[in-house]
């Protein structure tokens, strides 16, 4: 009966394959993106992390002006996206990568991820943002500040001044009030540690964290939990019974609290402790083996054009880097960019990062 059996299997395969193909074709046609690899010179592909955001019509305008079709590929968080780009640098997924920040910049440059390109309009970008001035392998696109946010209502009720600086945070008045994130897995958590390292130096920051620990700093794993569960200043943190009126977040979080509230409050419920900020700058670069280098260059020019720079703030909650870009009222009113944030050279970050995170972990978490 062997013949019956194998014929039977063949029939089953035929049926199954048929079913599969029908389903695949039915669904394939309804899928919105094509599966081409973007090899045509008329398509330019931008690779980025999951938080990259823009308005549709702004990109449409670029497509109309330049004649290129733009394809955007997003995945994972900033760290993953950079690592994926490095892994695939010989056969890249696109032409331009957006979203490498100053904490990861050295890793990208040392691995030869980008080729030099001096973007048109770079002269209007503030010099403090240009961290690769000599070779122009990356172009600054936006900046943001990692800062301590405070719950206005709490400090008004207690009649205490909210903290203003790193030094304030270790004072007894602010005991058991601060929640921050794990520096080894969270980007704002790392930024805050780097901020203290910039402020107190290679030898002083650990002593500062010992004081902070003694003053009852709480560490949770991720930003979501810190902000939405522990922090009493966010609407949802309040609902969850959060009892920490200080959280490590971004300078742009207060405007977001206003924009994403229904109904909108008259003033932001949270404020920024201005002397606790660490500056993050995000860059874009032309990938070393880009198939469509010309298109990629045009796209980078566009990213520092007035149109795109003005579109960014309310999409990504970041600040433009091009001088003279008008910033939405929500930003100027509820959360202006930090005046004098801590900064650190990318090479120094790359050199010390792993060691610092290790010592921070054993110091604060053990």
């Amino acid at each position: 009966m062997q013949s019956v059996r194998s014929a039977h299997i063949r029939a089953f395969v035929a049926a199954a394959v048929g079913l599969g193909l029908v389903t695949l074709s039915a669904c394939g046609s309804s899928s919105s993106d094509d599966s081409g690899s973007g090899g045509g010179s008329k398509t330019v592909t931008l690779v980025s992390h999951g938080s990259f955001a823009y308005s549709k019509d702004v990109l449409k305008a670029f497509e109309k002006e330049s004649g290129y079709q733009v394809k955007v590929l997003k995945s994972g968080d900033a760290g993953q996206a950079v690592n994926q780009a490095i892994l695939t640098k010989d056969n890249p997924q696109g032409d331009v990568f957006f979203g490498v920040d100053n904490t990861l910049l050295s890793r990208a440059l040392d691995n030869g991820l980008f080729q030099p390109y001096e973007a048109k309009g770079l002269d209007k970008v503030g010099a403090e943002y240009q961290l690769d001035k000599d070779e122009h392998r990356v172009t600054p696109i936006d900046s943001g500040d990692i800062c301590v946010n405070y719950d206005k209502a709490y400090f008004e009720k207690k009649n205490i001044e909210p903290p203003r600086s790193f030094d304030d945070l270790v004072k007894p008045a602010y005991k058991d009030l601060l929640v921050t994130e794990n520096a080894s897995t969270s980007s704002p958590g790392l930024g805050f540690v780097l901020g203290t390292a910039a402020k107190y130096g290679d030898s002083g920051w650990q002593g500062y964290w010992e004081k902070l620990k003694a003053n009852g700093v709480k560490v949770v794993d991720g930003w979501e939990q810190a902000y939405y569960q522990e922090f009493s200043g966010s609407t949802d943190g309040k609902k969850a019974g959060g009892d920490r009126p200080l959280v490590v977040s971004y300078a742009s979080s207060p405007p977001a609290e206003v924009v994403f509230a229904d109904p909108r409050p008259k003033t932001a419920p949270t404020g920024v402790a201005e002397g606790t900020c660490f500056r993050q700058i995000e860059f874009a670069g032309l990938l070393s083996n880009a198939r469509n280098a010309e298109g990629g260059k045009a796209l980078i020019d566009f990213l520092i054009s007035k149109k795109f720079q003005e579109d960014m703030p309310l999409n990504m909650f970041v600040y433009p880097v091009v001088e003279g870009t008008s910033v939405p009222a929500e930003f100027t009113e509820y959360g202006p960019a930090a005046k004098d944030p801590e900064t650190m050279a990318p090479a120094k970050i790359a050199e010390n990062r792993d060691q610092w995170v290790k010592s921070w972990t054993s110091l604060v978490l053990k």
Partner: protein
């Protein structure tokens, strides 16, 4: 056999091997020295120890809490049993990003435990353990309960007649019959908790890391692919061992037990003791499973503006950029991806099950266990592996939408195989031969003989694969795609931004996801219990 092997080879073995090789090779030479280095690191050793310890304790706790539930679902009849069975399965198919958030409401600040006893468990190891019970409750209830409901109660009654005490009768008759199912369920729970990622990250706080969390850190934060490769191999060995033992228990279960129709063994509880047991199990389910899920629903309606549907309405509005489309479209994306993933999983899993039915032997049995491997390999490894392995024509799928359902199907296939295999093995070969002798073409034999017998099992397998695909988050988030996020990805993105509306929309989307999963599972329950009396064993769905 060829197609499942090829699928498995191309979309799982090859990418994973590629990323491991990339990590262990440098400047043209192998660096096996890294293995010793990494394993000698005290931090890594601690991670290995903690991973094993928490998996063992989680498994023990899950069995302790879920076995009474398995008994109640197997032996008692009560109103709402189907709905309840569907609901306890929902956590298992939900993405951890959603469940973690819900669970915080139970054990975190201002949660139920906090209100009742002032106990807060978040960032303690207890939160991890309880959440693991919450996730894996259904695995035990389905795997053990499925078999229990088909054991003939008369065997135990006969032992009682012959003078055995209730306990002795249970120990000598029921327990030996159940043991392989309990072992299989325990091993599966151990596998899922050993490779736990989201739960540990969200609930455990920064001091706890499992192997999976460490692999993620080494890959995406530290970018030490060598260490990640070593840890991947370690996890591979561990998972391989677990699956080998599991395959052995599966075979033990297929030994001849006298099984009866489940509808004959369940009856209404009698006596105070049985009612108390039922009450206890229901209370556990309400507290442990319904409550966290209920919190999500409650928060999705809890707006500041006073209109309960505010967040749901916001979902349909054009969000400011992060998605380019209204978040609600993630529902459509998810359904589309899940449909394709289900088709792929059915095709591959069905063929694999058919091949495993027809052939015996060590190789085939090994293949059965092999198909389960994707359940135990870290998503970040598979995701990065896809990137460097599938980057050349004809397989340049990196930016293709098909990669997402393919990754989801990898997780769905084991469920399909587990569901189809017992049913296919139960089809009497002589029926097919008789049909063939009477002149039916092979195609017609399949249509007239096999299809009616396995149709329900196919539907059930499809439903499970569908639900699992809907909730798949790990691999999906690593695959670069144009802007068409799935539900879990959309939830994660919304949760990553400040502002009440973002959080509220995340809760609303989670609720929608939960309802879709629950409906899919409920339809299955209906299929399961709508017995056609064909003697098929379709009610062994979702068992391992």
């Amino acid at each position: 056999m060829a197609l499942p092997v090829a699928f498995f080879g191309v979309f799982f073995a090859y990418p994973v091997a590629a990323i491991v090789v990339r990590g262990l090779k440098a400047d043209g030479g192998w660096r096996f020295g890294r293995i010793g280095e990494v394993l000698a690191d005290s931090g890594i050793r601690h991670v290995l120890w903690f991973t094993t310890w928490q998996a063992l304790v989680s498994t023990a706790l899950t069995l302790l809490i879920a076995l009474p539930g398995a008994y109640v679902f197997a032996r008692f009849d009560f109103r709402g049993k189907d709905i309840l069975r569907a609901i306890v399965t929902v956590p298992f198919v939900l993405p951890t990003v959603v469940v973690g958030t819900a669970f915080l409401a139970l054990v975190g600040r201002g949660g139920l435990f906090d209100d009742l006893w002032g106990v807060r468990l978040d960032t303690t190891v207890w939160a991890i353990l309880l959440a693991h019970v919450f996730f894996n409750y259904a695995v035990v209830v389905r795997t053990v309960g499925g078999l229990w409901s088909q054991l003939d109660p008369r065997q135990e009654e006969a032992a009682r007649m012959l003078g055995a005490s209730p306990l002795a009768a249970w120990r000598r008759v029921t327990l030996p019959a159940l043991a392989p199912a309990v072992a299989a369920a325990a091993l599966m729970v151990f596998l899922f908790t050993f490779t736990s990622f989201g739960v540990v990250q969200i609930l455990g706080g920064p001091t706890f890391a499992t192997l999976e969390v460490e692999i993620y850190r080494q890959t995406s934060e530290i970018f030490d692919l060598g260490a990640a490769a070593v840890l991947t191999l370690v996890q591979f060995v561990a998972v391989g061992l677990i699956l080998a033992v599991h395959a052995w228990t599966v075979r033990r279960r297929e030994t001849a037990l006298r099984l009866v129709d489940a509808s004959l063994t369940a009856r209404r509880p009698r006596g105070a003791g049985q009612w108390a047991l039922l009450g206890g199990v229901l209370a556990t389910v309400v507290l442990l499973i319904l409550l966290p899920l209920g919190v999500l629903v409650e928060r999705s309606f809890d707006t500041s503006s006073g209109s309960a549907l505010g967040y749901y309405r916001a979902l349909t509005g054009d969000d400011s950029g992060i998605f380019l489309v209204a978040p609600i479209e993630a529902v459509g994306n998810s359904l589309r991806y899940a449909a394709v993933a289900t088709a792929i999983a059915l095709l591959i899993g069905g063929l694999a099950a058919a091949a495993l039915t027809r052939r015996a032997g060590r190789l085939v049995r090994g293949f059965d266990a092999l198909l389960m491997l994707p359940l135990g390999v870290s998503a970040v490894t598979v995701g990065f592996g896809f990137l460097i392995a599938l980057d050349e024509p004809p397989l340049d799928l990196r930016s293709s939408w098909i990669l997402v359902p393919l990754a989801q199907a990898l997780v769905g296939v084991p469920f399909v195989v587990r569901t189809m295999l017992p049913v296919l093995r139960a089809v009497d070969e002589r029926l097919r031969e008789a049909a063939a002798v009477l002149g039916a073409s092979p195609w017609r034999v399949w249509r007239e003989v096999d299809l009616p017998l396995v149709r329900r099992a196919l539907l059930i397998a499809a439903g499970f694969a569908f639900a699992v695909s809907l909730g798949e988050f790990g691999a999906t988030v690593f695959i670069a795609r144009a802007d068409n996020p799935t539900l879990p990805v959309a939830v994660a993105r919304l949760l990553g931004r400040p502002g009440e509306l973002n959080y509220g929309q995340a809760m609303a989307l989670s609720t929608i996801l939960m309802v879709v999963c629950a409906v899919a599972l409920l339809v299955l329950e209906r299929l399961r219990t709508d017995s056609t009396g064909s003697g098929d064993r379709g009610d062994r769905m979702g068992e391992f």
